[in-house]
Amino acid sequence: MKNSFFLTALLLSSLAFATDSVESTEIIDMPEATAPTASNVVKNDPLLQENFNIHLSVIGQGVAPMNTTSPAQAFALAKRAAIADGYRLIAEKIKGVKVEGQDTIKNMMVKRSIVRTYVHAMVQNANIVETNFKDGLCEVEMEVTLSYADLAR
């Protein structure tokens, strides 16, 4: 009898607490999600428009192989690799990258994770602006100007 009274008191007090918490909660009127319009879209990538040019600049990096016979050969090979990297960066910026991922999970653990990225593009008229070679690493600054007229051709 004593126990049931105690339980009833506990139940009533908890109900009172719950009612208080509901009363104290504010209901905020959330605005509905709006469709992206021209005004609220964040301008991330510049769009090529008539009478405007887009100027892209990248820095490609290349390393000299270990088995070179002279520093000059090392520089030449590292520069070639750096130019290829620069071309790749330009292609990525202009055309975009295709990304494909695959994860294998077994017993709640990642067994295998593969990410493949792929770029394929044709790059013309890229200029080398500056070349630096230090400690076996060659850095090539490259730039390319995209014009509407060139693409429209």
Binding site: R80, A84, R88, I114, V115, R116, T117, A121, A126
Partner: protein, 137 residues
């Protein structure tokens, strides 16, 4: 003096000779050139430069040409080999096909970049001290 058939003068013969000589001198050769190099993990892995004389007439619009000085009167193969830096820089400007793929396997990256100049026909004009190469596309 008359020729054997009696209808044409001998004067025609030197003219014909000169005409064909000029035609031979002005006539340019056509060569097929392709170039490809592979960079693996930021290190140059393989480079290929192929040159061959075209066996049939090429067609295409002439693009921006390159002039290479040839005071030693070298063959095209030797000349391009000697001035490979200059010519390969020009090929880059001409436009290369870029193919790049990265495979990240269990957080370990491996990337390959292939730059290719697909087989392109070049009109080659040999002059006294220089050679003009004009790509046809």
């Amino acid at each position: 003096m008359r020729s054997r058939d009696g209808s044409n003068t001998l004067l025609c013969r030197p003219c014909t000779l000169i005409f064909f000589l000029v035609l031979t001198l002005l006539g340019s050769d056509e060569y097929l050139i392709s170039y490809r190099y592979v960079v693996k993990d930021a290190v140059l892995y393989n480079e290929n430069f192929l040159l061959s004389k075209a066996m049939r007439k090429c067609s295409g619009t002439p693009q921006k040409e390159i002039t290479i000085f040839n005071d030693k009167h070298l063959s095209l193969k030797k000349l391009l080999s000697d001035t490979s830096g200059e010519f390969i820089f020009y090929l880059h400007k001409l436009g290369l096909d870029v193919e790049h793929r990265v495979i990240q396997n269990n957080m370990q990256n491996s990337d390959t970049t292939i730059l290719t100049l697909h087989t392109t026909c070049f009109k080659v004009d040999f002059n006294e001290d220089f050679v003009i190469l004009t790509p046809l596309r």
